[in-house]
């Protein structure tokens, strides 16, 4: 009879030791998970990286307070210094959705803006060529493109990455997104913005 309290204590100890792992976040009951979660992380550009990259430039453009009705076209994005796939169209669509909700400026791709016009396509090719070569963009080309395509600004982009091995068998990768918004009416640089994303991942 004297052992009864001790047995209870032993039982409590067992409960504490073995049943408390139930306190841990349980595995999902469904295959669906919240897209807000960090998600799979690899050295490549993952879903959350696109969110970070697009939110950064969107925040910068919002903060600058571009005039109401300002139409921005996503122009050439140079991804040659990044060995991994960069989904430019996905970024353009994400920005389009964000600005549609923001309701001040309109966002589209340069390809959509110049649909049907051969003259505007030729000018865009020159602009694209200069951007890819790293040469300055001709102001007259910008202004002509703006008039013909009916856009107020072109957003240029450069995506590069730097990859390093770090102790512990991990890889450090830094993506650098550089954005420049040129005003097609004045020919001036409206804003420039840099967004960096660094990840330490195990390959």
């Amino acid at each position: 009879m004297q052992r009864t309290p001790l047995s209870w204590l032993l039982a409590i100890g067992l409960v504490a030791g073995f049943s408390l792992p139930g306190c841990r976040t349980s595995l999902p009951q469904s295959g669906y998970v919240s897209p807000e979660e960090e998600g799979v992380m690899t050295v490549e550009l993952d879903d959350h990286d696109y969110d970070l990259a697009t939110a950064g430039i969107a925040r910068e453009m919002t903060q600058r307070g571009l005039p109401k009705g300002f139409v921005v076209a996503l122009g050439p994005v140079d991804t040659r210094e990044c060995p991994y796939d960069v989904r430019v169209i996905q970024m353009q669509k994400s920005l389009q959705v964000m600005f549609n909700k923001e309701n001040t400026l309109k966002f589209m791709s340069a390809v959509d803006a110049m649909a049907g016009g051969t003259a505007v396509q030729e000018i865009y090719k020159i602009i694209q060529f200069n951007w890819m070569k790293g040469d300055p963009i001709d102001v007259q080309d910008l202004q002509t493109f703006g008039k013909l395509a009916n856009v107020s600004g072109i957003l240029f982009g450069r995506v590069s990455s730097l990859e390093r091995r770090i102790p512990g068998g991990k890889t450090e990768i830094t993506y650098r997104f550089v954005w420049e918004l040129s005003n097609t009416q004045t020919g001036l640089l409206e804003l420039s913005h840099e967004e960096k994303i660094r990840k330490n991942v195990r390959p």
């Binding site: 100890g13 504490a16 030791g17 408390l20």
Partner: protein, 141 residues
């Protein structure tokens, strides 16, 4: 006597099990909320007294957008990795949904103060909620 030793071991196992299995409780994060743009309320025990809200600045910019900067101080002598996001509410308390409310990583050094800034995605935003959580590797796979 032998039973008491066994009991102590089991209780120690239990406590150890509790310490590891309930980690998610402290990772639940904080919510810094503004009310009427006049004050910022924050939990006094942010991350187990790891952080303190030192200062908050809320203003409407020339473009009519609400801008916020919260100064957070790391009270511990240890670096910490967190994530934060701003959520925005209109004057009726309805969430202004936007693709810009995403979890952003932030590393705060030992005893360091960091500025956590946000800008509303729309002129309709009149209030905000700042969410923070510890950065943890996902455990879902």
């Amino acid at each position: 006597m032998k039973n008491i030793v066994v009991l102590c071991v089991l209780v120690a196992c239990g406590v150890a099990g509790m310490a590891t299995s309930c980690r998610h409780v402290i990772s639940a994060g904080i919510t810094v909320e503004s009310y009427g743009q006049t004050q910022v309320k924050a939990s006094p025990t942010i991350f187990g007294r790891q952080f303190r809200v030192v200062q908050s600045a809320i203003a409407r910019g020339d473009n009519g957008l609400l801008q916020v900067t919260i100064t957070l101080a790391n009270l511990k002598n240890k670096e910490c990795q967190v994530e934060y996001r701003y959520r925005w509410l209109d004057d009726k308390g309805i969430e202004v949904r936007t693709g810009m409310s995403i979890w952003t990583p932030l590393t705060v050094g030992a005893l360091e103060q960091k500025l956590v800034s946000g800008i509303a995605p729309s002129r309709n935003a009149a209030d905000f909620i700042l969410d923070m959580r510890y950065s943890f590797e996902s455990t879902r796979w």
